[in-house]
Structure formats: structure tokens, C-alpha cells
Amino acid sequence: MTIATATDRTDARIEPRGPEFEFMPLEIAVDRCKGCGLCVDVCPKHVLELDSTLVNPLGYHPVRLTDAAACTSCALCARICPDAVYTVFARPKGGMR
């Protein structure tokens, strides 16, 4: 199954990679991302990077989450993002890891 993509903010590229990665802490509206990299710098877990393999409609390499399991949903990325690309979810208690 895929992550529900209720809005166009959703990063449809983030596919679950198996049961253990089913939980996705971030939805990234990659179409709006300008690749400024501020989130990459502030991420305490260093799990964000600009995706040099992709160019979005604005012409930028958008950010992507490299390790969903390592993300702590601290939302610093969302706090500093000038383009409001992030929706952040808390890890469910006792559920998916």
C-alpha cells in the first residue's frame, strides 16, 4: 500500500519500503521545494538531503528524507522551511516503529 496522499503536499515518491518502514514521519510537498537546504542543515539526525537525481517543476533539486526510521519527528525542518513543504507526523505509540 502507499501512504495516503490527501493533498498535493504529499510526496508521492516516498514509497514504503517494507513493513518495518511503513510509518513515514514526513510528507514533503516536493513541488514547492526550492532546494534551499536550510532543513538539511538543521536536521539533528542528518536524514534530509537534496535529491540531485530529481528536478521539480520549479527547477530545483527537492529535499528528500533519507532514513524515515531515524527521523524523530522533531519538526525543526518544518520550522525553518521557508516554503512550508513539510507535514510532520508523530510516531504512533507501540505501533509501527
Binding site: F23, R32, G35, C36, I80, P82, A84, P92
Partner: protein, 278 residues
């Protein structure tokens, strides 16, 4: 089957008042952060339905394309005058101006000073990045000494170009200013503090206490010739030296504190019938 999305608890979502299309701002520009803080607060404080924003001239003129509230566009520098008209004609509205440093600190000094002197009950959001971004990175009144811009190519020199203007401190001495603070969007911690300042500014307006101004130190990576990350570092390293962040005055709080002190220190209540003069 229950979808994953439905089971997930949202820690943060972009405010719905914020348009979900891309802004015209350059990558890493601080305007986007400030826009988002405003949208978050308008939602959290349930103000959107009665908000009338006043857009100014500069990069942020298109604020009305991104914030889904009523907006009027003002001539360059005149936003506090326009906001005065809005506020007076619509006393029940929540009114804020969104101005850059060229707009507020150069061409619009008369308007902001007198709106402040009148104590107009508006929130002034003053985004200071020390440069004229829209027109190509020229020197602004807030440009730091020594800073190179396209119109101060050798760096700003006080003997020729004067000194940076500390707007928030200047305005804070006016009794019509209920709240003056300076924040910055240069790191996540300060973004939170700046949001708190904006919230206080909005509260001050709701209390009818007078003009409030939040000066927000922001960035212009393109105009400064820096990467977004370097720009943020420049703010926290250099800009705050000229423009120290913090709350400069909160007369609403000061008045409340004084009242509280007076209440605790007050002599026994006078006998009924002599309650005049308060």
C-alpha cells in the same frame, strides 16, 4: 482497512491559510518563514475571518497571494497610513502591515513614526534584511556598516552613507507603541521566539493597547551573495550585533505588572462611595 494516514498523529502541518502553491521568493528567503508564522498565528488565534492585511512595496508585495485573508496593497512606505484608514474605518478588524526595511525604514519613516505616535492599534511586521531585494540588492537604511551592496559597492561607509537605523528601539520610546520586539528567523529556536513575539503583538492589538511592532531580522541570500545557510549564519553572527534581538518594550505587560503590584500593595479598599478617580 484503516489507512496509515488516518492513524498518524500530526505534529506539524502547514497552516491552511497559507497558499499551497509555490511562492515567488528566492530559495532560502526569510519571507516564507515569516508568512508561515503569520498564517499559523492567525489560525491558532482564530483571527483570519476578521483580518485585513496591508501589503507594502518590495519583494513581499505579493503576501496577499500566499496568505488567504483580505488584503489591501499600499503604496511604497505608506502601509501604516493605509492601515490607519482600515483600522479606523473597521474598528472590529484585525489589521497588520507587512513591510520590508526599504519600505518602512526609508521611504515610510514618516508614516510609521506617526502611526506609532498615534498609537494606532495595528500590528506592524517589519522584515529587516538590510537590503533592497526586489530592485537588485541596493543599500537600505538598515544595511550594516561595511556591508557591500550594489549601491554601496565598497561597503557602507558611515561618513558617506550614515548609520543603520535601529527601528524597533526608535519606535519603542514612543508612548503610543505598546509592544516592540526584535526577533529573527535565523535558526529554529529564534523562529519559535519570534513567533511568540508575533503572538504577543497580536494579543496587544486585540487588547486595544496600541501599535505593536515586531522587527524580524531576515535574510536575502541572493542579494547578500551567500547561500541560504551562510545567510542564516551571517544573521546570527553579524547582524544581531547591530540589531540585538529581544523584547524592547511591552507596555501592556508593564501596565498589568504595575496593576498587580498596586493591587498587592494597595491599602485597604476605601469605603463605598469614594470610588472616584481611578
Amino acid at each position: 482497512m484503516t489507512s496509515v494516514a488516518e492513524t498518524r498523529r500530526i505534529v506539524y502541518r502547514p497552516p491552511q491559510l497559507l497558499a499551497d502553491h509555490a511562492t515567488h521568493y528566492c530559495p532560502g528567503c526569510g519571507h516564507g518563514i515569516v508568512h508561515r508564522l503569520i498564517a499559523e498565528l492567525l489560525e491558532e488565534m482564530d483571527l483570519a475571518d476578521r483580518t485585513i492585511g496591508v501589503a507594502s512595496v518590495g519583494c513581499s508585495v505579493f503576501a496577499y497571494d500566499y496568505l488567504a485573508v483580505d488584503f489591501v496593497e499600499s503604496p511604497h512606505g505608506r502601509a501604516p497610513a493605509v492601515a490607519t484608514g482600515v483600522r479606523r474605518a473597521r474598528p472590529d478588524a484585525f489589521v497588520f502591515t507587512y513591510q520590508g526595511d526599504g519600505d518602512l525604514a526609508a521611504i515610510g519613516t514618516a508614516e510609521i513614526v506617526h502611526a506609532a505616535a498615534r498609537g494606532e492599534n495595528i500590528s506592524v511586521i517589519f522584515v529587516n534584511n538590510g537590503i533592497y531585494g526586489m530592485t537588485g540588492g541596493q543599500m537600505a537604511p538598515t544595511t550594516l556598516l561595511g556591508q557591500r551592496t550594489t549601491s554601496s559597492p565598497g561597503g557602507r561607509e558611515a561618513s558617506l552613507m550614515g548609520y543603520p537605523i535601529p527601528i524597533a528601539e526608535m519606535l519603542a520610546i514612543l508612548p503610543g507603541v505598546a509592544y516592540a520586539a526584535r526577533g529573527t528567523i535565523a535558526d529554529p529556536g529564534w523562529i519559535g521566539k519570534t513567533k511568540a513575539m508575533l503572538r504577543r503583538s497580536f494579543e496587544v492589538q486585540i487588547a486595544g493597547a496600541g501599535l505593536s511592532i515586531v522587527e524580524i531580522l531576515s535574510t536575502c541570500p541572493v542579494g547578500w551573495g551567500m547561500t541560504p545557510a551562510e545567510s542564516m549564519a551571517h544573521v546570527t553572527r553579524d547582524v544581531v550585533g547591530t540589531y540585538p534581538p529581544g523584547v524592547i518594550v511591552d507596555r501592556l505587560k508593564a501596565a498589568a505588572d504595575a496593576a498587580a503590584v498596586a493591587a498587592t500593595d494597595a491599602p485597604p479598599a476605601p469605603v463605598a462611595g469614594s470610588a472616584g478617580g481611578s
